[in-house]
């Protein structure tokens, strides 16, 4: 019996378990998936919780609902990977051997990495919305808040779902407008990047929208610490920004297990061949999703597109062919802009987000880099697609490789 071991049963690991179980003979291949938690979170939904649009029950389901029959599931913490010996030590001492390993342990937030962030104001006036607990604490806070300075700050790059903090300020603008207190809420968006977004065309579109909604942007701000007494965030070059409520994207790093295994970079992300999705160090290890260091967004859409390439290359390796499938870094992100509208961006390693239509050239129905109602419905419908199609590894009517068809180039 040959063995494939998948570490992590989030979006990436679950998709792979489904794809591989369908393709590989049960008599020949044992597939095992390991995760310490039993709950699957629909993470794109976290963003809506602070504004009371979603609640906890809208974003959780048991992980067990999404594993196919014939996959061995182990709920356990992972001790470390011993890559030279092709084995994984679980926290309880159990050892799992593998022929091929897929690392899909994702990225986590580490508020304790920023001095003063995880202090006495945490979940009182400082919140994250990358955990269900943080999002719910913020929902409670916003219900009783009468206004003041709301600061949305990104501490470090890279971080999961790069558009989420922009969506957060757009939704906050709509939320406080509808509540009738927008004039009492001062919204500031603070980022270590040189603009609202890195890629120029999207950055321009989003900057205009931020301006239109009276949201201030402070670029090139790299947070050193949070001053809990003065209620300010302080940059390394000693600029201070005061807040009454701080929403924050804490430092993102890979799982500590990666560090224990000696397989990570300085942020515990696994050095990965950005085209084949193999580990740089070990060719029988593949990395899917946020756990890798590939230079594209840490997002579910990327994990989805990459899963098709990883699947192809793993099958190539299993059947003795060269790993010829190449990932192009394709990402596709809906951006909620508030008041029932949304924008959409589609890009890869080489091509920045451009205006146009998606997925059908000239038809859409979605408009790229346009602020429309239909884009918002796309995001709303996506939750159903996520639970019913995406996690189960079924085909979506979208190509894994990005296409220029339907896009307008800008000079």
């Amino acid at each position: 019996m040959k063995r494939i071991l998948i570490l992590g049963a989030g979006t990436a690991g679950t998709m792979m378990a489904n794809k591989l179980r369908k393709a590989l003979d049960k008599e020949e291949w044992e597939i095992t998936i390991v995760d310490q938690f039993k709950t699957h979170y629909y993470q794109p939904g976290f963003l809506f919780i602070p504004f009371g649009i979603y609640n906890r029950e809208d974003v959780v389901k048991p992980k067990a609902d999404f594993f196919p029959a014939g996959v061995r599931v182990i709920y356990s913490e992972i001790g470390r990977i011993e890559a030279e010996a092709n084995k994984v030590h679980l926290a309880g001492g159990k050892v799992l051997h593998y022929d091929y390993l897929i690392i899909a342990t994702g990225t986590k937030t580490f508020p304790e990495e920023t001095p003063g962030l995880y202090g006495k104001l945490w979940y009182k006036e400082i919140f994250d919305f990358y955990t269900v607990e943080g999002a719910i604490a913020l929902q409670k806070f916003f219900k009783g808040w009468e206004g003041g300075k709301l600061v949305m700050a990104i501490t470090e790059l890279p971080y999961k779902c790069p558009v989420a903090p922009i969506e957060f300020v757009f939704l906050a603008d709509a939320f406080f407008t509808e509540k009738g207190i927008r004039d009492k809420v001062d919204i500031t968006y603070v980022t270590p990047m040189p603009g609202a977004f890195t890629k120029p065309t999207a950055s321009k579109m989003l900057s205009e929208l931020l301006l239109e909604k009276n949201i201030k942007v402070v670029p090139d701000f790299y947070i050193e610490r949070v001053d809990n007494e003065k209620k300010t965030i302080v940059s390394y070059d000693d600029v201070e920004i005061p807040f009454d409520a701080l929403a924050v994207v804490p430092v993102n790093m890979g799982d500590k297990m990666i560090e224990r295994s000696g397989l990570g970079d300085d942020m515990n992300f696994v050095p990965t061949n950005k085209e084949t999705l193999q580990s740089i160090q070990h060719e029988n290890i593949f990395i899917l999703g946020d756990a890798s260091n590939i230079p594209t967004s840490k997002a579910g859409s990327v994990a989805h597109f990459a899963s098709e390439i990883l699947f192809e290359n793993l099958m190539n390796a299993i059947e003795g062919r060269p790993v010829l499938a190449k990932f192009d870094g394709h990402a596709n992100c809906y951006i909620e802009t508030g008041f029932g509208k949304g924008a959409l961006i589609d890009f890869n390693y080489e091509t920045e987000p451009l205006p146009g239509t998606f997925p059908l050239p000239g038809i859409g129905p979605f408009g790229l880099l346009k602020n429309t109602k239909i884009n918002h419905y796309g995001k709303v419908m996506f939750r159903w697609i996520y639970w019913h199609i995406l996690l189960k590894g079924k085909e979506l009517p979208v190509e894994s490789q990005m296409t220029m068809a339907g896009k307008k180039t800008i000079n």
Binding site: L157, P162, E224, D237, D266, M267, P295
Partner: protein, 103 residues
């Protein structure tokens, strides 16, 4: 792309003044680019620049955090050496491409 005369040599640079070929770099070029940016180059500056060039050649992604862990200088010190945008400015002076944040 453009040609620019730096330290007496004609060098190919990007529109934003970053060297196109990192092999064109020399300490004299770094010193001249530094004075354009209002920085007087010290040994500490050069240590950072050499570190950046070494990591760039090794194909590693450069971040402020990484330089802060290099043992040469902490992040606060890096801001003091290259005020404003430490990674952008130090990359330019090191003759390596403008850092891109992958988001």
């Amino acid at each position: 792309m453009a040609e620019k005369v730096i330290a007496g040599k004609s060098i190919e640079v990007t529109d934003e003044g970053y060297l196109v070929n990192m092999e064109d770099w020399s300490r004299e070029i770094a010193a001249e680019l530094a004075s354009e940016a209002g920085i007087e180059l010290t040994g500490k500056h050069l240590e950072v620049l050499e570190y950046l060039r070494e990591k760039q050649s090794a194909g590693e992604t450069l971040t402020i955090r990484k330089v802060g862990k290099s043992g040469i200088v902490d992040i606060k010190g890096l801001y003091k050496l290259f005020p404003g945008g430490p990674l952008k400015i130090s990359s330019k002076l090191a003759g390596i491409p403008k850092p891109t944040s992958c988001v």
